[in-house]
Symmetry: C2
Subunit: 354 residues, 2 copies
Amino acid sequence: MEYPEMQGPVCPMPLKHDQKIVMGHGSGGKMSQDLIQQVFQSEFTSTALLAGNDFAYLAPPPSQNVRMVTSVDAHIVSPLFFPGGDIGKLSICGTVNDVAVSGAIPQYITAAFILEEGFEIDTLQKIVHSMKLTAEEAGVEIVSGDTKVVEKGKADGVFITTTGIGYVPEGILIHGANAQPGDKIIISGNIGDHGIAVLAARGDLGFQTNVESDTAPLNHMIKELLLAAPNVHVLRDPTRGGLATTLNEIAVQSNVGMLIDENTVPIQQAVRAASEMLGFDPLYIANEGKLIVIVPEQEAQAALKAIQTNQYGQNATIIGEVTTKNPKRVLLQTYIGGTRILDVMSGEMLPRIC
Amino acid sequence: MEYPEMQGPVCPMPLKHDQKIVMGHGSGGKMSQDLIQQVFQSEFTSTALLAGNDFAYLAPPPSQNVRMVTSVDAHIVSPLFFPGGDIGKLSICGTVNDVAVSGAIPQYITAAFILEEGFEIDTLQKIVHSMKLTAEEAGVEIVSGDTKVVEKGKADGVFITTTGIGYVPEGILIHGANAQPGDKIIISGNIGDHGIAVLAARGDLGFQTNVESDTAPLNHMIKELLLAAPNVHVLRDPTRGGLATTLNEIAVQSNVGMLIDENTVPIQQAVRAASEMLGFDPLYIANEGKLIVIVPEQEAQAALKAIQTNQYGQNATIIGEVTTKNPKRVLLQTYIGGTRILDVMSGEMLPRIC
């Protein structure tokens, strides 16, 4: 077969700063390549990603005796930017934390973007940069990505789905069915900040507040915690549904009861005030940088101290204990001294907060 | 602390068959739990998923000497159902294939659903069932999931993002930068079926056609191929951008030229006819069950035979070869005997086909 000589590769067209996403950016052709090179590959520089394959190679875990762990989270928060965070930071933290609550070291992240036609590329760049910074802080590598575009009115700016992959070091067994009667229950800090911050950013509060989201990667805190208290039984981050719903999930999984002392649950005054005005219970408001720790009593103080030493855990407190009575139920000893069932959230309270 | 005895756990409310998704299904509370139990956990029965943790445990790969592989894909196809497939089948096949084109055995899938308020739960159940069947055929386990809900008009029914995880057996090294001059280029069957089938399902063709999407999991075909031709250099599934764009990507990655003989590219008559009427080139139309194989000449016939033996590869053909001339360019010897550059697709052609 004969054929003529041709010139070299085509250079990508630089994206203009005022450019918006068009359907062609999702085509898989030249416009997709330009977007990927100039928005994503300028921030995400993993060799696995830059290799340009449809897949990413990962190192196997350090030993055959470890468990690997994965977790997926779709992020649809509205608005995309809020005090203390944005959808990019959230999309890394949410998944890093879900992997880390197994006691695992999170290593790798995959990220898929669903973009709405007309979305500003400048805004996308800010979000991608925020993901990069958060991934650096957490020490995870973004190894695989995908970008799709839908017509205007068929999405809401951008949705980001991330999957995390990591491994649990030998000797650690932490999961939701592992709570034991007598264990102490710790919360790593003030609850309700994230939900109130997002609501405020929407302008839905009807008044001003200075509450910032607590969005944070908790994997370093968890690593330090497990050095101080290696026999931790359960870890979980109380996101959607808040502290109350998450505790209920653990109570059901572990077939135990729980007793929480409302007086000890740390809630900052501005969150308490906003919740009261809106008729919300902070116990059901989402958090994105808090950790529930269920730990044998003899390690509780060491655990508490380790958490308090971390920048994200300064207000950590013991809030209750695991009981044999009332299996699968969480009871709350209230401010006024009574005791009531703290049930799971039944329906919608604050939609699109993560 | 004292507290009264309470009764046992609350049973989930059965979902009615005419029910629609409401914002509360994304709250993380009781309604979310009901949806997960009754729609997802009735089909996806992985112990990792049923354990109810935020993470899933995975077995480590069989040896320290293998590479692990991951890949992510967001699926936004419109309409959700089309001849030969649906978004559920697509969401498994797309990711299974992206993992398998590394030569890997795909093992695990994570899946995140973004649902639009008002979406029918019956329809969601059909999609989830289709995912289950496809995952069974591919031999992959759905280990982790997430469900979010956005307001009506902020999404388009359902978007599904999947991440796949697998491992490459020892001795296999297949990636896009590995094409060598002299290699033969095989396509595993007729091209363009998927794009035309989706377009027809939208009613956008203006005429009837009986073309069905080729959506299929190709991992078993790839396994059989690698037994017959263990020195395969490159595998890739030509999805968005079609055969032409995908070949260009490989030519750039491998810094080689390619020469494709248009006469040998298998295209079914109905696809050719539809493309001509619409002014499309089938070489740029998406496929979801086709494989490009780049293989040393001495293994080309064995590779071809192995593919043709598989149910999804009966029309496999050698369509060209890798060259030293014109690096990073794909040349097409046309029907009429001339030779032209086959460039990457420049912008949008068929939006939302995967």
